[in-house]
Symmetry: C2
Amino acid sequence: MQQVAASTAFIGSALPLRRAPSNRAGRLPRASLVCRAQKQDGQTGGKRLVASSAATLDAPVEEGYQSVWTASYDFDNESPELTKSWKKTMKVAVTGAAGQISNHLLFMLASGEVFGRDQPIQLQLLGSERSREALEGVAMELEDSLYPLLREVQLGIDPRQVFEGADWALLIGAKPRGPGMERKDLLDINGQIFAEQGRALNDVASRDCKMLVVGNPCNTNALIGMANAPDLPKRNWHALTRLDENRAKCQLALKSGKFYTSVTNMTIWGNHSTTQVPDFVNAKIGGKRVPAVVKDVQWLKEEFTPKVANRGGALIKKWGRSSAASTAVSIADHLRSLYTPTPPGDCFSTGVYTEGNPYGVDEDLIFSMPCRSDGDGDYEIIDDFVIDDWLQAKIKETEEELLKERDCVGHLIPGATRAVCMITEDTMLPGEA
Amino acid sequence: MQQVAASTAFIGSALPLRRAPSNRAGRLPRASLVCRAQKQDGQTGGKRLVASSAATLDAPVEEGYQSVWTASYDFDNESPELTKSWKKTMKVAVTGAAGQISNHLLFMLASGEVFGRDQPIQLQLLGSERSREALEGVAMELEDSLYPLLREVQLGIDPRQVFEGADWALLIGAKPRGPGMERKDLLDINGQIFAEQGRALNDVASRDCKMLVVGNPCNTNALIGMANAPDLPKRNWHALTRLDENRAKCQLALKSGKFYTSVTNMTIWGNHSTTQVPDFVNAKIGGKRVPAVVKDVQWLKEEFTPKVANRGGALIKKWGRSSAASTAVSIADHLRSLYTPTPPGDCFSTGVYTEGNPYGVDEDLIFSMPCRSDGDGDYEIIDDFVIDDWLQAKIKETEEELLKERDCVGHLIPGATRAVCMITEDTMLPGEA
């Protein structure tokens, strides 16, 4: 078996290619610099330049160099005993790859702790022209970390190229809200990004590509992406609510004075926003329903949810930046939950498409629900959660918010009836715009 | 068994204590806010304030609040099957804990991937007054990541308090070189920090505490720390050269077109600086000596070493900040190497005290050498490396640099004969000052 241990590519826009200086080529006998044109689908007209990685990464990058740039190490496998149990390489595309969350996540992915020690991966990293050198820096650090499972790294700025063949797309990048920007402006500006990325995934990703949207507003961004990727399974879209779930478990553990691991069956319902519903009705502590353990109903109803929803804002206030590390941990948790059989009586939260959902939620939303998995990467919505009146009212509230968000992005959803954007209030998670 | 799942403390200077508002106390029944005075050793007169964690971390911190601050969750263990195989909690002190390297490392430590899934740990984090809120942010993110093995987190700014009872001290924090600062100034300013930390470790750490110095100039900082900690075993001091080793392995893998894992017996000799000696004479690729595989002697002698030594600088140039993630990975690698039996015929690099070394290096330096471990946390220097003339000359060069560094810090080494500081050239690793 030949192994591609790691490789770096720059996949870029339709600007004219510049060939990297040929003297770089001589440095690596196997991963030599190759410039080859690759016909794209016409929309971008991009080309692909295959370049050596380590040889070029520490060399100065040419000004304006902005196209598919691949450095490939295609190595002799001297360790057949290491690789004989390895699965087929998984292609994982990550957007916002030069950002803080990715800077934690990529190393977790490459180490094998997320997808398993027998799962080689190829990272396909999307950045922006501005972040290109930072992306190259990340690729160099991944190299220096000697992860045998990391077989290739590609870098680019055109989603249509970066997403090619992806088995997973972790959509982390989104524009933060600028000064004076209203929430509906943010919905629009990020919605456009996710519409483009949805189309790109539809055109070039694996036909069973799974998508996890982290960039906010993540539920509605996922809805837009999904609507623009009609050929991909709708159930494959996820919006991240695992950080909320983790925070909710943490708060219940603290409140009850029990191990984190004692808190099970914890669901976040609805939107990853301040209207989210951390469900203490169905959650359990030490196998007992939460209200039987935490007898402080007022705390559960009035303090618990804001504690969870405002945790990110509290963190921002502490140190002026968002919770990159714990977000990355929660993304890893999310992915692991899909590749590990869910223990009986437990669940995990993920924002998924609501079509056919058993809880009467509008059937065209991305809505966080209690799910379980057989460990095959797929999931099912658990259908026997108790919805009492309190929970029902809260779920209604977060559903209504998502319906309003959907109304604001009708112009980004092919075939949608245009509605009027009625969002005036600010329900973004503080600090997580 | 009761478990302390995680707890946060602020251990500070000798400023007058301010009691946290008592209304915080009511929020957590078990992890309640306690203010207790604790007699310190007289040098600092510090006191210890035990405070609840989650309850206070998201509450505004009082101005000037600057003393031992502990938030403790002392939880019922509902998972005896989880913990019955757990070892005794290891206390790991980390300096520069609010910095980028730590921001990666702490999550690796807490997850169990470094010390093992049966090794609960207590993190004792040293920051500065300026970084206090950032430290609290890190503690909050660690909470939200739900690591069962993480049993306590303490935060503080006084090493004499933070290092109390530490089994490991990971000394990451150091002052970077400011504009116009000469290398000898840097040696002095950081040397003072490490002299203080050495004294603190000597007074309060576990009698078998192990120290890993990451803050540069790490070899000489370790020497200073060691000299100021006469009651701790000198062999327990390490200076990090594992990132250099990893980079060297990466470059040899690239050059030879082989798996990373094919490169073994890779040693860095000497100083973590541009005079370091990545040893291609003894290193092997696929079981063969490197020169038998990479037949380009000129590359090995003239390009390989600068490629390794200048990698950090190349990264800085790429994205304007240092290689925090891969440094954290290499710290984790370093620690794992001490707790995993070294495979026969392999080694790892660490800067250790040279007393009694088999290679004729001056016996009062911290010098990177080929080492092996039985996996018990201790190590031995491998004594059968071939030192040819080329290697001998290179080792001499890095030794001479370390002798010069030692001459410049005689005022920080108790009992040292004063020598004249002769350092004029700049041998810092680029970007890693």
